[in-house]
Symmetry: C2
Subunit: 352 residues, 2 copies
Amino acid sequence: MTNILNFEGWTCPLPLRDQPNIILGHGGGGKLSAELVEHMFVPAFRNEALENLGDAAVFKVNGARLAMSTDSFVVRPLFFPGGNIGELAVNGTVNDLSMSGARPLYLSVGFILEEGLPLETLGRIVDSMAAAAKAAGVQLVTGDTKVVDKGHGDGIFINTSGIGLIPDGVNIGPHRAAPGDVVIVSGTIGDHGMAIMSVREGLEFDSPIESDTAALNGLVADMLAAYPDIHVLRDPTRGGVSSTLNEIARSSNVGIMLDETKIPVNQAVRSACELLGLDPLFVANEGKLLAIVPPSGAEAVLAAMKAHPHGQRAAIIGQVVAQHPGMLVARTGIGGTRVISMQIGEQLPRIC
Amino acid sequence: MTNILNFEGWTCPLPLRDQPNIILGHGGGGKLSAELVEHMFVPAFRNEALENLGDAAVFKVNGARLAMSTDSFVVRPLFFPGGNIGELAVNGTVNDLSMSGARPLYLSVGFILEEGLPLETLGRIVDSMAAAAKAAGVQLVTGDTKVVDKGHGDGIFINTSGIGLIPDGVNIGPHRAAPGDVVIVSGTIGDHGMAIMSVREGLEFDSPIESDTAALNGLVADMLAAYPDIHVLRDPTRGGVSSTLNEIARSSNVGIMLDETKIPVNQAVRSACELLGLDPLFVANEGKLLAIVPPSGAEAVLAAMKAHPHGQRAAIIGQVVAQHPGMLVARTGIGGTRVISMQIGEQLPRIC
C-alpha cells in the first residue's frame, strides 16, 4: 500500500507543554495524557464513539448496545502485595467495561514478553489471569504473544481488550453529572498505588498495604438493579479520584464539591502518603469506583453498595454543584476549601 | 482481593523444548509459539471460543455472530519500505477479523511508548493508522497509552484489538479443509518479511522490496459474494505460508499438497531469499491470504480475487488430499516431493 500522507514539512501540531518527546507523564492519566488524547488521537481518529472519552466506547451492532475497551499493563514489580500484573490486567478491562454499565463478556489478551522471562513467572501470571476471569465471570477468548529481544522490553507487558453488553434502560456517561447529584465512592482510596509504592520504597507498616485489585462488575450490577438511572460511573485508576472527578466536572460542565472528612482512607495508606508527601486523592485505585447519582437514588445505591463485598465501606463524599463549572473543590477538615486540580503528569509511574 | 492461588511447590508443566525461559522463538508463530498456546494458555483459559484456535474468536451476542481478535506489533524498524508499524497494526487486526469471514467494524488501540520517543514520530504513526482505518472502513473507537521508562521499552509497541460481524451463511474455520478442496493464494509471497530484512541487512536491489501490508476485508467480501461456502481463510503472517498450511492440515486432519512452481514470488524477493539462505514459504506476509475452497467454487473465487486490486496475482497453488494427514508436502520444480515442516522458532524476529 502506498503511503497516502505527505510528510514533507510535517510539523507537530501539539502544544504539549513544549515537550518534543514522550515523557513518563504522558502515561500518567493527568493533563499530559489528556492533551495527547485531545490534540493527537481524537483529531486523527475522529469518530463519535471516540469523542465520548469514556472508559469504554459504546456502539450498536445488530441492535445490541456494546461497549469495547482496551488497556495495557506495565506495572512494576510484576508481583505486589494483594495481586500481580495478570489479575490487574483482567480486572482493569472488566472494570472499564463495567463503568459504561455494560455486562463484560469476552476479553482478549496480548502479551509482549522479553526474551529471558522465566516460563514459571509467565505460568503464575497466566494462572492468575484465569482465576480472575473466572471470578469476574468473563471468558478470555483470543490472544497473541510477541517476544522482544532482551533489553528491549521489561519482562512482560499485557494488553487486555474486552467487549460487553449494555442492558436496556442504562445510560451512563461522563457528561451526565447534574447539579444536585450525589458523589459516592465504593470504599477506601489509595490502596493500590501505595501498595506498589511501599514495595518500591521498601516501606514496612504494622498492617501491610495491599492492592485493592478486584472486578467490579458484580457491584455495578447490584447498583443498577437498585437504581437504573445512575448518571456516571468511573473507576479512579491512574491519576486517582482527583483526575477522575476533574474529568467528569469538565465533561458535564459542572462543579464538584467534595467533603474531605468523608473520604475513607486506610490508616496505613494515610501514614504512607504523609511519609512520602503524597495526597491520597491523586493515588491510583484498582478496585474502587465513583458513582454520580441523582439525589432520589442515592440511598438505594449506597445501600446496594454496602451489601456487596466490594462496597462495604462505600460513602457519600460530595455533591455536584452549578458553581465553578469544570472545577473540583474540597471542603477540608479544618473548615476551609481548596481547589483540587488535575495533575500534569503522575506522581507514581507504572502503577498499572 | 486476596490471592486464591497457592504458589508453594509450583512447577512449570510445560514440555517447551526444555527451555526454562522465554526465547525469541516463542513469538515466532512456529512450533514454540504453538506449544505455548497449547500447553499454557489453552489449559489455563479453557473455553470453547479459544479452543478453535482461529485468527479470531467467534461468539454470539444477542443473536449476532461476532468475531474478536487481538494483535501486538513490535516490528523493527518502525518505518520500512511500503509501510510502518501503525498501518501494519490496523491492517493486521482487520485481516485477522476478515479471516473468520467477519466484516471488521471497530478497533481499539493500546500504545506502550518508551520515554524519549519523539512526538513527531508518534504523530506520523498515528496519522498513518488513521489513514489505514479509513482505507479499510473501520473505526478506531477506544484507546490507551502507557509510557515506560527509557531502556525498558523500544520506542513504540502497538496493540490493536477489534470486533466484526459475521454475515449469515458464512462458516469459515481451520478445521473445515476437506480432501479435494483447492488451495488459493492471493498473490506473491514473502514481500513483507524480506522488505524488513533487506532494510536490516542493508541489501539493495534494482527494484526495492516493499511490504505488502494491506487490509484484506474488501477482497474477502468479494470472494464471499462470489462463493459463500469458502472453507478456510488465513493470512500467512509470522511463520509464512508453511506454518499456516501446516496448522490447517493439523486442525482439519488432512494432507496438503503444494505445487511449488505455481507459487507467485517476486524476483527481488526470490533473489534476497537466495542470498540470505531463506525459504519464501517461511517468510511473513501482511497483505496476502490463503483460501481453501471446494473444487466447485474454485474458479468463481479465483476470478473474484483477480478482479480485486489486492488479488490480481492470485493463483491456485495446491490441493487438500486424504493422504499424509497433518502434513504439508510440496511438488518441487525438478519433479520430486518434499515435506515442509513447521519451523520451531522463527527465521526473522520482530517482523510484525
